[in-house]
Symmetry: C2
Subunit: 313 residues, 2 copies
């Protein structure tokens, strides 16, 4: 099964407590597609400028990601994000955002793109997400969003959510979208907005998945060195959607495994700057980390220990 | 197997976004012993004043907790803590602390107390913890501490830790004790200080357990309403030590189950003010919540999905 992703391909200048990089390949759709490409065919819809060179194209080529629908705008520059992270790597501080070609981005879908079975709407303007979504009839539509749209484009976002199956957002976004501090209550509210499942990313604390009839929670894979959290959420979504597309399953068991694959891909992604780690990742490493997460969360059944005197109570 | 706990029995005045209570029974040793009493015999060493009445004694009696070693000081009042929680229920703000009888607390252990097989050193001055510990030769010694001792009594604390098997502290304390922001690195440092296992409480994000050769992580039981987080950590320790004492096991599988029972007891404790919820808790409810945590964290083995073109790579 094939995946279509629409979103940003960008250049990032990132500073973390462990170093900094200037103008490295970034963007939600880029991280997503590289992560998903380990599992399934991926086609990317986005826009770049003149600064997108053969060197950057190679990242997609080596992962066999189809960028025929990546629009190139002559005489303009690509979307650029500059940010830094402190020791709390869960929070990015944006220093500069230059939309450039992204300011007038109108996703153009080829006929092949419209045949995709799985669609990921990365974090872009909700109206654009909906415009893309309406041109396809995929098996599963997943979407991300951010606080900016929740606060400033709520009406459009709510309209878009009606056509989304899986909403993949972080904890603060879930609380803000629902207007409810308690996550369990927030999830219940969000599940009335359209999505049949809500997947909440919690950074170093893992992820939780809600549906009307199930709750699944996992801790994150423990890392000694998180070099650059940029793209963690999109790598997560890429692993998750990649797994679903690879197995073409969407039952609870498959969804749970998909969340684990998402966590695995995110955990690798943050180990190095940009997409460096994913570029040289192997399937053996992915399988091994899946098994480690399984092992580190496993425990036996309850053996119902009771204090003896209570037997007669 | 029997458990000895040394620590505070206190009165708390607590305010949360959901209500407030004045002068209710509290204290680390109280919460610990009530939670542990569901699994094993518990004896408490502590001190109270005149304000500890028959009504408060009844809490211990109904749970068959042995308070023969609870010292009563005439003409003085019990330890009193006044605090409040905002919507971030992970952080308590102390408004007032009156040590009262606790200021001159010198734990006195009876001969029976010295026979205990399991010892929990609740959060008190590290030198006192050590003084108690040296009078026993238990199978397992567990201890808690807090930022105050880590900052102001570090030398004594490090000396005490040499005689501790399980250190049960929260995430900020672990980081501060180790002087290391990364939890994995912090745990490695702490495991050189004496304890063979470090159990880190993460509030609504669950708990992790480290040893030289293992890592275990669980999310917390999801709650819709957290009324009062006071005593969560001590209920956790009580469930954990209670389970170990009930089964008299300390292998990895038993330790993992113990962490789950700890989480279960903490999750019940925070559902109501003070110890109200634990007082009317049943073994059926405990077993059910254990099973729910098992179910909500379970996922199948990796089926190693790979994108087909890569087979030939």
């Amino acid at each position: 099964m094939s995946i279509l992703v629409v979103g940003s391909v960008a250049f990032d200048s990132v500073k973390t407590p462990f170093g900094e990089r200037e103008h490295i390949l970034g963007g939600a759709a880029m991280y997503f597609s590289v992560a998903a490409s380990f599992f399934a065919d991926v086609r990317l819809v986005g826009v770049v400028g003149d600064d997108f060179s053969a060197e950057h194209e190679a990242v997609f080529k080596e992962r066999r990601i189809d960028i025929s629908d990546l629009e190139r705008v002559k005489g303009q520059r690509s979307f650029h994000w500059k940010g830094e992270y402190g020791f709390d790597l869960n929070v990015a501080r944006t220093l500069d955002t230059q939309l450039n070609v992204f300011a007038d981005f109108k996703p153009k879908l080829s006929n092949v793109a419209r045949q995709a079975n799985y669609l990921f709407l990365a974090n872009i303007q909700p109206a654009l997400q909906r415009e893309v979504r309406q041109q396809l009839n995929p098996r599963i539509v997943a979407a991300d969003t951010m606080n900016y749209w929740i606060e400033n484009d709520r009406k459009e976002l709510l309209e878009t959510l009606k056509g989304v199956d899986l909403l993949i957002i972080n904890e603060a976004e879930a609380r803000e979208l629902a207007g409810e501090a308690n996550l369990l209550k927030a999830s219940r509210r969000i599940l009335t907005m359209g999505p049949s499942r809500l997947i909440v990313k919690r950074g170093e604390y893992g992820a939780v998945m809600f549906s009307d009839s199930s709750y699944f929670a996992i801790p994150a894979y423990p890392l000694e060195d998180v070099f650059d959290p940029t793209g963690a959420g999109d790598s997560f979504a890429g692993g998750l959607m990649g797994y679903l597309a690879a197995t073409n399953a969407s039952d609870e068991a498959a969804m749970r495994r998909a969340v684990i694959y998402g966590s695995v891909m995110a955990s690798f992604n943050v180990e190095e700057f940009g997409v460096d780690r994913l570029r040289r990742l192997s399937h053996e490493e992915i399988d091994e980390r899946f098994k480690t997460i399984k092992e580190m969360t496993h425990f036996g059944d309850s053996d119902a220990p009771r204090r003896s005197f209570l037997a007669g109570d």
